[in-house]
C-alpha cells in the first residue's frame, strides 16, 4: 500500500514538473488559417491502411509529400489505419478541430463519415476518394485506372504461355470489376485464347489472405498474376514460384525483382497539388474528378527487362493512343461472359456505365456475387 502511494506521488510530481515547460509544443492553431491575408493550406489525410503498406496508402502518402512542396502548404497531417465506418467520423472531426482546412479521405468506406462531418463544418474543404456522394464543400476524386490496366493486359496477353492469367481481387465493386474487365480486354486484344481467372479476397489489405489467393491461382496453372490489393503478397507469391506478376498502386519491383513486369500506379500528387492551389486561390468548387493518363493521375510503371522489345514498343504505341484519345479501352464491340453483346462496334461505354459496372467481359473466369 505504501509503495503504491509513493509511486503514485512520484508519478504525479513527475508529470506536474515537466508539463509546464512543454506547453508551447502542444499548442496548435485553433482556428483555420482562412483569416490570414494569403490563405495557407493545412491539409489532413485519413488513410485506411498503414503508410508502410507499400500499396494504396503509400501511394497517397507520396502524393501528400509532393503536395507539401508548395510554399503555401503548411506541414500536413495524416492518420493511418482508420477503420471505415463510425470511427472515421471521430478521426475526421479531430482533424477539423486541429485547424485543418483541407481534408482528404482516401477510401470508399469513409464516404458517409466525410459527408457527416462536412455538413457540420462548412468552411472546410473535403475531398473524398472513389465515392459518389458530394456536397457544396465535398468533392470526389478518382482516376481512370482502367487505362493503364488495359496496357498491362497487353503485356500479360503477349507473355503468358499457359494462357491462364490470375487476378487477385478485393471486393466485387465497380472499381475493381472495371479494372478486371479492362485488363482482360487488353489481354484478349493480343491473345484471344487467354483466360483471366478471378479470386475475391473481400479485403483490401490482408497479406495472408492475399498470399493464399495468389497461390491458389498459381496452383490452377496461371503463369502471370496481377492484383487489385494493397499488400505486396501477390508479388511475393509469384516470385517464390517463378511466375511473372503485374503489381498495382505503386512501383513495388523490390518485392519481386525477377517476377515483376510492371504495375498500373497512382500519381496522387497531380490531384493534391491542384486542389491545394485551387483552395488557396479560392477557386475550388465541388466536382467529381475522374482523371486518366492524360492528366497524369494514373501511369504504367517502367517495364522490366523481362518484357520483350516488341511488346514494349506495342505498349508505348497504345499508351500514346490512349493519351491522344484515339484508343478507348471500353469501345465496342463488347461481349459479356455469356457471349451476349453489350454494345456494338462504333459505340463505347459512357462514364455512367463504367461507374456502375457489375458484369464481366468475355474471357473472365469468375463470378460476381449478387
Amino acid at each position: 500500500m505504501k509503495k503504491f502511494l509513493a509511486l503514485l506521488a512520484a508519478a504525479i510530481l513527475l508529470t506536474a514538473c515537466t508539463s509546464n515547460d512543454q506547453k508551447p509544443t502542444t499548442t496548435v492553431a485553433p482556428t483555420p488559417a482562412k483569416a490570414a491575408v494569403e490563405k495557407q493550406i493545412k491539409a489532413g489525410f485519413i488513410y485506411v491502411g498503414p503508410v508502410g503498406d507499400a500499396g494504396w496508402t503509400w501511394a497517397h502518402d507520396q502524393g501528400r509529400i509532393a503536395m507539401e512542396k508548395a510554399d503555401y502548404v503548411l506541414p500536413s497531417t495524416f492518420i493511418e489505419s482508420v477503420p471505415e465506418g463510425a470511427e472515421a467520423t471521430r478521426v475526421i472531426t479531430g482533424l477539423v478541430k486541429k485547424g485543418h482546412n483541407l481534408i482528404f479521405t482516401t477510401s470508399f468506406g469513409f464516404m458517409d463519415a466525410t459527408l457527416d462531418v462536412a455538413a457540420k463544418y462548412k468552411d472546410v474543404v473535403f475531398m473524398h476518394c472513389s465515392g459518389y456522394k458530394t456536397a457544396d464543400n465535398v468533392g470526389t476524386y478518382f482516376g481512370r485506372m482502367y487505362e493503364p490496366r488495359y496496357l498491362s493486359g497487353l503485356i500479360a496477353g503477349k507473355m503468358t504461355k499457359t494462357d491462364i492469367i490470375g487476378y487477385v481481387a478485393a471486393f466485387p465493386i465497380p472499381e475493381v470489376i472495371r479494372g478486371i474487365n479492362a485488363f482482360t480486354l487488353g489481354v484478349r486484344s493480343v491473345n484471344p485464347k487467354a483466360k483471366v481467372k478471378v479470386v475475391w479476397t473481400q479485403t483490401w489489405f490482408d497479406p495472408g489472405v492475399e498470399r493464399d489467393a495468389a497461390d491458389s491461382l498459381l496452383d490452377v496453372g496461371a503463369d502471370i498474376l496481377t492484383m487489385h490489393q494493397d499488400a505486396p503478397a501477390t508479388l511475393q507469391a509469384a516470385e517464390a514460384r517463378g511466375a511473372y506478376v503485374i503489381g498495382y498502386n505503386s512501383d513495388t519491383r523490390k518485392f519481386a525483382p525477377n517476377a515483376f513486369l510492371t504495375a498500373p500506379v497512382w500519381n496522387w500528387a497531380s490531384v493534391y497539388t491542384k486542389t491545394a492551389e485551387e483552395v488557396k486561390n479560392g477557386t475550388w468548387k465541388s466536382q467529381q474528378i475522374w482523371w486518366g493518363m492524360k492528366q497524369d493521375l494514373v501511369r504504367l510503371a517502367p517495364l522490366s527487362d523481362k518484357v520483350p522489345a516488341e511488346v514494349k514498343a506495342l505498349v508505348a504505341e497504345k499508351q500514346q493512343a490512349i493519351i491522344d484519345g484515339t484508343l478507348i479501352p471500353f469501345a465496342g464491340p463488347l461481349k459479356d461472359q455469356t457471349g451476349r453483346e453489350i454494345i456494338g462496334a462504333g459505340a463505347a461505354l459512357n462514364d455512367g456505365a463504367l461507374l456502375g459496372m457489375n458484369w464481366f467481359v468475355e474471357g473472365v473466369q469468375g463470378t460476381i456475387p449478387k
Binding site: 502511494l5 503514485l8 504525479i12 508539463s19 465506418g85 463510425a86 479531430g94 468506406g109 458517409d112 471486393f171
Partner: protein, 357 residues
C-alpha cells in the same frame, strides 16, 4: 546471497485500495510508455496532457469518450454478470454481433415502423444475444462442456454470419455492391444530444448498470448466483439448482451483450457493416476482471478505457506517431492493470533464514 520470494495471500484491502492500485498501475504503465515516447522524440508529459485534453478537455472530447464508453459498459456488464458465478463468457463480441444483426433486421426488413421500432429492436437484440449465449449455457449446464471454448468459437461464427448477411442478402441495393446494408430510417435511430454523437445508448448503458446492480445485490436470484460462484458444491447441497442457474446466467450475459450491438447500430453506425465492434467484447473481459463484482466498477473502468482509446488518437494527430504506438500504449496499460490485480490479492515476501527456520 539467497534471494528467494514466496507468494502469500494478502488480506483483502477495501475498495479504496483497489482503486489506488488501478491508478498506480496506470501511472507505472505511463512511466514505461514514456521511454517509448522519448525514443520517438516526443516529450512524454506533453503527450499525456494531450491525451487528457483530447478525451476530456472539451465538450466534444467528453462526448466522444462517452460514445466510446457506451459499448464497453454494456459488454463489461454482460461479462461481469457471468463472472460472479465463475462462468467465463468470452463470447460477448459474437453476442454483440448477433444483437446488432437482430436489431438491423427489425430496422430494415421487419416492416415495424414508427415509435415501436426502437423497442422492437431492443427486444430482438436482447433475445438474439441471449439465444446465442444460451447454446453455451445449455452445453455447460447439461454436459459440462467448457463454456470458454464454446463462447469463444461462437464469436467467429457470429462475425462470419454477419459478413454473410452484409455481403449477401442484406447488401444495400444502391450501394454499388459495397458490403454494407442500407442506412436506418430516423425511427430506428437513437436521439443524439448536445450537437454531438452522444446518443441514448449511453443512458441505456447506465440503466443497464443500475438494473444489474439491483438484480445481483437485491434479489434472491442474485444471491444464488453469488453463492454458486463461491462454492458450487455447498450451493448444490443447500438445494440450489446450479445447472439451471448456469444456463440462465449465461443467457442473461449474452442478452446484455446483444443490447450493446443494438446500441451501436441504432446510436452510431445506423447500418450494419463489417468491423462493427473493434474488439469491445474482448475488452469487456478485462473490464469485468478489473471491476470484479461491482456494476459501478464496470462503469468507472469502462470510462477510463474510453479516455485511453479516444485520447490515443491524439498521438497520431499531434505527433504523427504510427498507429502501432497507440496499440503498444494500450497493451502496456492493460498489462500493468492485470499485474496490479495479482498484487492486490497476493504479496511477495522475501524468504530469509529467520522466517525459513
Amino acid at each position: 546471497m539467497n534471494l528467494q520470494f514466496r507468494v502469500e495471500k494478502r488480506e483483502q484491502g477495501g475498495p479504496l485500495f483497489r482503486i489506488l492500485a488501478i491508478i498506480a498501475s496506470i501511472l507505472i504503465a505511463l512511466f514505461v510508455a514514456g521511454f517509448l515516447l522519448l525514443a520517438a522524440g516526443v516529450d512524454p508529459a506533453a503527450a499525456y496532457l494531450e491525451i487528457l485534453r483530447e478525451a476530456l478537455g472539451s465538450s466534444y472530447g467528453i462526448s466522444e469518450t462517452l460514445v466510446k464508453t457506451t459499448p464497453l459498459i454494456i459488454t463489461g456488464l454482460a461479462v461481469s454478470v457471468a463472472f460472479r458465478m465463475q462462468i467465463w463468457n468470452i463470447g460477448a463480441e459474437g453476442q454483440l454481433y448477433m444483437g446488432a444483426c437482430a436489431a438491423t433486421w427489425v430496422a430494415l426488413f421487419s416492416g415495424v415502423q414508427g415509435s415501436l421500432t426502437l423497442p422492437a429492436m431492443f427486444v430482438a437484440a436482447f433475445i438474439a444475444g441471449g439465444l446465442w449465449a444460451s447454446v453455451a449455457g445449455l452445453l455447460r449446464a447439461r454436459w459440462q462442456v467448457n463454456e470458454v471454448i464454446v463462447t469463444l468459437l461462437m464469436n467467429y461464427i457470429a462475425i462470419l454470419l454477419t459478413d454473410y448477411l452484409i455481403f449477401g442478402p442484406w447488401k444495400n441495393p444502391d450501394g454499388f455492391n459495397f458490403p454494407i446494408t442500407a442506412q436506418f430510417s430516423q425511427a430506428a435511430r437513437f436521439s443524439e444530444y448536445f450537437d454531438s454523437r452522444l446518443h441514448s445508448g449511453f443512458f441505456l448503458a447506465l440503466f443497464c448498470a443500475l438494473a444489474i446492480y439491483l438484480l445481483m445485490e437485491r434479489t434472491i436470484w442474485g444471491f444464488q448466483v453469488k453463492a454458486i460462484g463461491s462454492n458450487p458444491a455447498a450451493a448444490r447441497y443447500a438445494g440450489m439448482k446450479t445447472g439451471l442457474a448456469i444456463f440462465l446466467v449465461l443467457t442473461l450475459s449474452g442478452a446484455i451483450a446483444g443490447i450493446a450491438g443494438f446500441s451501436e447500430v441504432a446510436g452510431l453506425q445506423h447500418r450494419l457493416q463489417h468491423g462493427l465492434a473493434p474488439g469491445y467484447g474482448y475488452t469487456a473481459i478485462i473490464i469485468a476482471w478489473l471491476a470484479r463484482r461491482s456494476a459501478l466498477g464496470v462503469v468507472i473502468v469502462s470510462f477510463l478505457l474510453g479516455v485511453l482509446l479516444v485520447g490515443g488518437d491524439s498521438l497520431q494527430l499531434s505527433w504523427q506517431l504510427p498507429v502501432a504506438f497507440a496499440y503498444a500504449f494500450q497493451g502496456l496499460i492493460l498489462f500493468f492493470l492485470l499485474a496490479s490485480d495479482f498484487f492486490i490479492n497476493f504479496r511477495l515476501r522475501r524468504i530469509t533464514e529467520e522466517t525459513d527456520g
